[in-house]
């Protein structure tokens, strides 16, 4: 059956959920072990911010959507990523990882990604963010989040990530459909656009902040015990889903992102060393020079009800 964006939009509207649907005080928080807590806190902090920057990515995509239905879908996805971040914050609060209105601090790398998205994302072509976001979501959905569900038995956590996974499945379905649509154009146009994208200084800069972040996330999750095999399986999912479409295979950006993701999960190649070193450099950058964080990154909340 042909994919209809209007049907997908209706499904998205039907599947909305809110933080208020979840009983955040239900028993189960105590199942978290003292050993899990510090590493999980670091992981959740990064996850919250990755959802938040993902949200900003969808906001940029909404500006580029060629149809009203797709634009509305991206507007929902923008909000849904924010919802995931809010729900993850609420989980952190439930687990006593944050107090009151405390917010986890974004690491330097995420801070740079926030800055990059704020400055350049609205100017990116649909194909760039439209490829990177499904890749990240496949990795998050297919490996990191599933791993989290294996490790943490808190039923509220299970409930939250059931909702999040359900949302992500629609994000991926739309993501791959858009790639298919983008790859259906004339090859000449695809190549010119692809070459134009690669030559943009903003894209190069984006790679410089995105690569170490992906490596850092993978290193962190590996340290928590996620096997490399599971990561391979997750990245293969992106690969396979993309390769299924003849159109997507024609997109140079898809191949670049796929190649990069492959590099990022392989510990035994020079890229890993470079990305890790870049991460170290980023850790020592004086972030104060960047000035105030954009106001969109101050919108997160763990409160289900705003009074």
């Amino acid at each position: 059956m042909a994919f209809e964006y209007s049907d997908m939009l209706t499904t998205i509207k039907d599947k909305q959920w809110a933080l208020a649907d979840i009983d955040w005080d239900a028993p189960g928080a105590e199942t978290l072990t003292a050993e899990q807590r510090p590493r999980l806190k670091a992981f959740m902090s990064d996850l919250v911010w990755i959802e938040n920057v993902g949200a900003r990515g969808f906001a940029a995509l909404a500006k580029k959507a060629p149809t009203e239905d797709l634009k509305q879908i991206y507007q929902y996805f923008h909000a849904e990523e924010q919802r995931h971040a809010n729900a993850e914050l609420a989980l952190m609060r439930r687990w006593g990882m944050i107090e009151g209105d405390e917010m986890p601090m974004p690491n330097n790398n995420i801070r740079l990604v926030i800055e990059w998205l704020d400055r350049y994302s609205d100017g990116m072509p649909l194909s760039t963010l439209g490829t990177v976001i499904p890749a990240l979501e496949t990795a998050l959905d297919g490996a990191l989040v599933k791993f989290l569900l294996d490790e943490v038995t808190d039923p509220v956590c299970q409930e939250v990530f059931r909702h999040i996974n359900s949302d992500e499945s629609r994000h991926l379905a739309v993501g791959f459909q858009v790639l298919d649509m983008l790859g259906a154009g004339p090859m000449r146009k695809i190549l010119i656009e692809g070459a134009g994208t690669v030559m943009r200084p903003s894209v190069m800069l984006g790679l410089l902040v995105y690569s170490p972040l992906l490596t850092r996330m993978i290193t962190n999750i590996s340290a928590m015990g996620l096997s490399e095999d599971k990561l391979h399986i997750a990245i293969r999912r992106f690969d396979k889903a993309g390769e299924r479409s003849r159109n997507t295979r024609r997109l140079p950006v898809f191949h670049v992102v796929k190649f990069h993701a492959g590099l990022a999960i392989n510990h035994r190649q020079p890229f890993q060393f470079v990305a890790e070193q870049m991460g170290t450099v980023i850790d020592h950058l004086p972030m104060g020079l960047l000035g105030k964080v954009p106001s969109w990154s101050n919108e997160l909340t763990h409160e289900p009800v705003s009074r």
């Binding site: 809110a18 500006k63 929902y76 909000a79 809010n86 609205d122 909340t301 009800v305």
Partner: protein
Amino acid sequence: MTRTPSVLIIGAGFAGLGTAIRLLQSGIDDIVILERADRVGGTWRDNTYPGAACDIPSVLYSYSFAPKPDWSRAYSRGGEIQAYVEHLVERYRLTEYIRFGVNVTGLSFDEHTATWTADTAGGETFTGRTVVMAAGPLANASWPDIRGLDSYTGHKIHSARWDHDYDMTGKRVAVIGTGASAVQIIPELVKTAAKVKVFQRTPGWVLPRPDFRHPGWAKELFRRVPATESLARQAWFWGHEAAALGMVWDTPATTAIQLIAKANMRRQIRDPWTRRQLTPDFRAGCKRMLMTSDYYPALQKPNCKLITWPIATISPRGIRTADGIEHEVDCIVFATGFDVCKTGTPFPIAGRDGRKLDDEWASGAYAYKSVSVSGYPNLFLTFGPNSGPGHNSALLYMESQIDYIVKAVRLISSRGIRIFDVRKDRQDRYNAEMQRRLAATTWNSGCSSWYLTADGHNTTMFPGFATQFTRQLARVNLDDYQPVGAG
């Protein structure tokens, strides 16, 4: 059955009363005005929300045949406009012609007697040899199609039916919509409510409104030398006509308008992300331009918050947005506009051989020069299809239609015409030309708005200058009609 007047006018708002005045001035006093409410005023009677004002200068938003020298401000508040409408009734002694509390539920034409019959909710029927539809395009409030709307247990107010008994002081209020009404309501609400949350779906282009008090000497001058008010009217008129170059047609002037709007936003909004949220992604003019100098400052008040997340559902306690948060509020203000009939009629209208206008307009309304519809003889429309301005005063357009209708009614009366039906070929040719010209306008430049039907058909706006609209209605050409029973 009461009697058969020459003209039955449906609606006692600006259009209905203006038609009555011009008919009376031309010597036709055999008229009946049917009004469903118990007061005149139409849109201005119904829209009494805080801050209600016209976004067209008052000297231009009034009838040329009934000037008012003492408008208090450049852009008058709703109350003053309503007082002007009521003053018209008094000045032209219209009360005796108006039947209040009569809600028309259907109109049908009898070819045998060449009369129209209006059925009413009260059971009474009224007949007329001609009918003027002056029910107004903005007469019926439109409630949004949002999930859970009926589940909300707090207070609900529609901008077009304001509840003045509800005290906003200290309340947490949500405003849904950011159109022409909302941008006037929000600056007033932030003055009294404890918290105002503005739920925006699509931002509009905002231009500053150069509002000012009319100084006493100007009012005195307008009163003593009416030609000076006429001169001021002409100045405003030509200023607005020039704006058509960017607001009606999609041209470099449209880009210039956008740059002015962006500069205005930059001047008033400090935060770049808020500016991004408030920047439209359609061409200026595609949706109605918003004229306000108070809206942006109001949004930045500490007790006001702009929310651009899609609304997932309305819950019993408030509004849930797609970012997963429930916004608990005491009252929701629906500034969601009006139910504009673009693909039908406000009530069933049956023409010759029982044909139904509702059916014929199902895929988009059309008429000849916005006034006559083939198959519905002796029926005249005010604010009919494709008569909306995007850049100038609606009353100018209305006045042109009224003068055309008066000429037609006089023609019918003086020549003893029984059936005055516009020729279908003329109507089709006119509408083909309208649609061809509309293609180059800002309204058809790709956004969705209340100007367009669901399938993107523009049935509301006139693609041209006000001068062109007026000129096309300057005379009634008998060749455009197929008069039957001409004496």
